[in-house]
């Protein structure tokens, strides 16, 4: 089984769909600072999670394994559950236990191929994870007419379609060719494998209620 591959456009769309399908989550902390602006007909957001990001999260990512952090920024109307606009950024984090550095590849719609960062401290990693600038939430028309919040959800090592596909492939081949029965069972089990609904490692943060009028042009 291969680790979760960096999401392309399709994967990002699938992730957005997963975000939309996710049940409403309770916010982890108080309102987070969010700045919205209009630029070229799009709404861009700047989010600062420095104050609310759990302190142990960056160090948890230094376990020497490849970790994926998916960060979703979504506009959710108050009283509604479906986001009307969203932005996805995926961090691929690997701590090199020899070099003692964090290699982070950041992918989002603007850089689907990813931007690579080599960080030498937890603080640098924390800063990279906590600051989201120029998050393109989509056309300005996608903002709800009434008040809304900007929700941020962080999934650590989310179950991606790629991971599911790789797991299915792994289950089908888990027999190792020592008997047809196991491969049949594994293949059927892989076919029937579905993404679990519960998301154990999700953090959700929410802004204070905002009005569409409060989004100034830049």
């Amino acid at each position: 089984m291969t680790p979760a591959r960096p999401p392309g456009r399709l994967a990002l769309a699938a992730t957005l769909a997963a975000l939309c399908a996710a049940p409403a989550a309770r916010a982890e902390a108080g309102p987070i600072p969010v700045a919205l602006a209009r630029r070229d007909g799009h709404v861009v957001a700047a989010v600062d999670l420095t104050a609310v990001l759990p302190g142990e999260l960056p160090s948890r990512l230094g376990n020497g394994l490849r970790n994926v952090v998916a960060l979703y920024v979504a506009v959710v109307p108050i009283g509604g559950e479906e986001p009307t606009a969203a932005f996805v950024r995926v961090f691929d984090v690997l701590f090199d236990v020899w070099e003692e550095t964090w290699t982070v590849t950041v992918r989002d719609p603007r850089t689907p191929g990813g931007r690579r960062h080599v960080l030498r401290s937890v603080d640098a990693l924390r800063a990279l994870l906590a600051r989201v600038d120029e998050a393109d939430l989509g056309p300005a028309g996608s903002l709800p007419p009434s008040r809304f919040t900007v929700d941020v959800r962080i999934d650590v090592n989310p179950i991606s379609p790629e991971l599911l596909a790789a797991t299915r492939e792994y289950l089908a081949g888990a027999a190792g060719g020592r008997g047809a029965s196991r491969s049949v069972l594994g293949a059927v089990a892989g076919f029937l494998l579905r993404e679990p609904e519960e998301r154990e490692q999700s953090l959700v943060f929410r802004s204070r209620p905002l009005s569409p009028d409060a989004v100034p042009p830049r």
């Binding site: 680790p3 376990n63 020497g64 991971l163 797991t167 190792g176 029965s181 069972l185 679990p196």
Partner: protein, 523 residues
């Protein structure tokens, strides 16, 4: 040691017991088929469940989704990190050791570094860089590095005057390869562990689905196997219902495969078909005999009514004739009386023969068959009827013994009537009569054929009706008597055409019981 005495059959008792086990141990084909269907329906899913369980156990072992294993695997990169830290500290210590006593002159420094490189394990290169970065002295290990390749790890020691001692150590590349492999394995295990519940659910679903599919296949196979038997039972039930509805033409269709199966159902179907055929024939026989009985009653009364006035007529005319002879008068009356007398005598004679035929038909006795070989009987008949040989050429063909039971007197009458018909039909030519005797599995057959004009197909059914005749002077009773006698013997008669021209009468009689197949067999 004594040998048990041989049994009368020659085989030891246990062999005979195996060949013919007790009735309660014998399994019929029907029971075997049902048992096989049940076994298929139960054993196949069971075997499938075991097969799947074995696969499940294997996969469980292969996946190794133990939380402790996953946890330990996840900790392995950290262990490597600690190992690398220790190595770095070791290299730093060794570099400081190399720096100790390092001469400041170029040659002295080089010799010092060469000695250090040769005696320090893992040290591949040592160099002294002056404050400006220029190389003062260096030494490199001459031998090969660690087996399997290595990665350089540098350790620096600051020297007086701003110079720096740079020591390059060889770190085994296998450590990094092992780390990568372990990390990949740990990531796989972690991802599987995160999907543990989903995987477990999918395996349960997979197990249940495959088991359900296997069960359905087994049920289908069992139904298919059972239906091979029940289909014929259904056909039999449908045939019985038709029979109950009065349809005596119903037959259960037996395919070649059914006959090959040779089980109880096939035997039952064959017996049913035979039963229906016999019922159909018996009913026809009964209807015919009832009709004949009615005609016999009419004949008896008719004969009685005709016979009664005949005698007085005959006596009166005889008296008249006697008187005339005693006292002749009118000369012309004599010839007239003689002519009238001739006519009266002839017609009375005809009437008397008719009455005799009617009486014979009416008083036809019940048949009392006795065992006989039909071929012998036919040959006896031909031998003891010389007048038949005068009237026709008779040929007898027989094919082996044909045991049956006949009432010799009545059956001779049958042969006589049929032979007389053949003689009359062949006139004016001399008749050629072919008598054939043969047997089938359950019947003996007697054919009487001539080479006359034959019988029209539409008349073949009616010729056995009483008083039906195509002859000008016939009474139409001959063939009716023939058929009644044959039916009384439990047989049947059919009229047909002889190949090559002429008529054929085919009489079938039951084969004697002792000679019939299955007679005396255990049922």
């Amino acid at each position: 040691m004594t040998t048990p005495p041989p049994t009368p059959g020659g085989a030891p008792p246990w062999a005979r017991w195996l060949r013919r086990p007790p009735r309660w141990l014998r399994v019929s084909r029907f029971e075997r088929n049902i048992a096989i269907a049940l076994v298929i329906g139960t054993v196949v899913p069971l075997v499938g469940a075991l097969w799947l369980a074995a696969g499940l156990a294997e996969q469980d072992l292969t996946l190794g989704l133990s939380p402790r294993v996953v946890s330990r695997l996840e900790a392995v990169p950290g262990v490597y990190g600690e190992l690398f830290q220790a190595r770095k500290q070791l290299y730093a210590l060794q570099a400081r050791e190399v720096a100790r006593g390092l001469p400041s002159d170029r040659d002295g420094a080089r010799r010092h570094l060469e000695r250090a490189v040769s005696r320090t394990p893992g040290l591949r290169r040592a160099a002294v860089l002056q404050a400006g970065g220029a190389l003062l002295a260096s030494a490199e290990a001459r031998g090969p590095g660690p087996e399997g390749g290595w990665r350089p790890a540098a350790a620096h020691v600051k020297l007086p005057g701003g110079a720096v001692l740079e020591c390059t150590f060889a770190v085994e590349a296998r450590l990094f390869a092992e780390l990568d492999e372990t990390r990949t394995l740990a990531e796989q295990s972690r991802e599987l562990d995160r999907l543990r519940d989903a995987i477990q659910r999918s395996y349960v679903l997979s197990y249940g689905t495959l088991l359900a599919v296997l069960s359905l296949l087994a049920a289908a196979a069992g139904i298919w196997f059972a239906r091979r038997t029940t289909r014929r039972v259904d056909a039999l039930v449908a045939a019985v219902r038709k029979l109950a509805g009065g349809d005596l033409s119903v037959q259960v269709q037996l395919t070649a495969r059914d006959r090959l199966a040779g089980d109880e159902i096939s035997a039952l179907a064959a017996a049913f078909n035979e039963m229906v055929r016999e019922v159909r024939e018996s009913r026809g026989r009964i209807v015919y005999l009832e009709k004949i009985s009615g005609w016999q009653e009419i004949a008896r009364r008719l004969a009685h009514e005709i016979k009664n006035p005949l005698t007085p007529i005959q006596l009166a005319f005889q008296e008249l004739e006697a008187r005339w002879k005693r006292s002749p008068g009118d000369a012309s009356f004599g010839p007239l009386l003689a002519e009238a007398g001739e006519i009266v005598r002839e017609e009375v004679g005809t009437l008397q023969r008719l009455v005799a035929d009617f009486s014979a038909f009416a008083k036809l006795p019940e048949a009392a068959p006795e065992p006989a070989d039909l071929g012998d009987f036919v040959e006896d008949f031909v031998r003891t009827n010389p007048q038949l040989a005068e009237q026709a050429e008779v040929e007898v063909v027989r094919t082996g013994p044909c045991p049956t039971a006949v009432d010799r007197v009545l059956m001779r009458r049958v042969l006589a009537n049929l032979a007389a018909n053949a003689v009359e039909a062949s006139r004016p030519a001399r008749a050629r009569i072919h008598l054939g005797v043969a047997r089938t599995r359950s019947r003996v057959l007697l054919t009487v054929s001539d080479e006359g004009p034959g019988i029209d197909a539409e008349m073949r059914e009616r010729i056995f009706d009483p008083y039906f005749t195509t002859k000008t002077d016939g009474t139409g009773l001959g063939l009716a008597i023939v058929k009644k006698i044959v039916l009384q013997h439990g047989g049947d008669i059919e009229a047909g055409a002889r190949p090559g021209g002429g008529a054929t009468f085919c009489i079938s009689l039951p084969l004697a019981e002792a000679a019939a197949p299955g007679a005396g067999e255990e049922t």
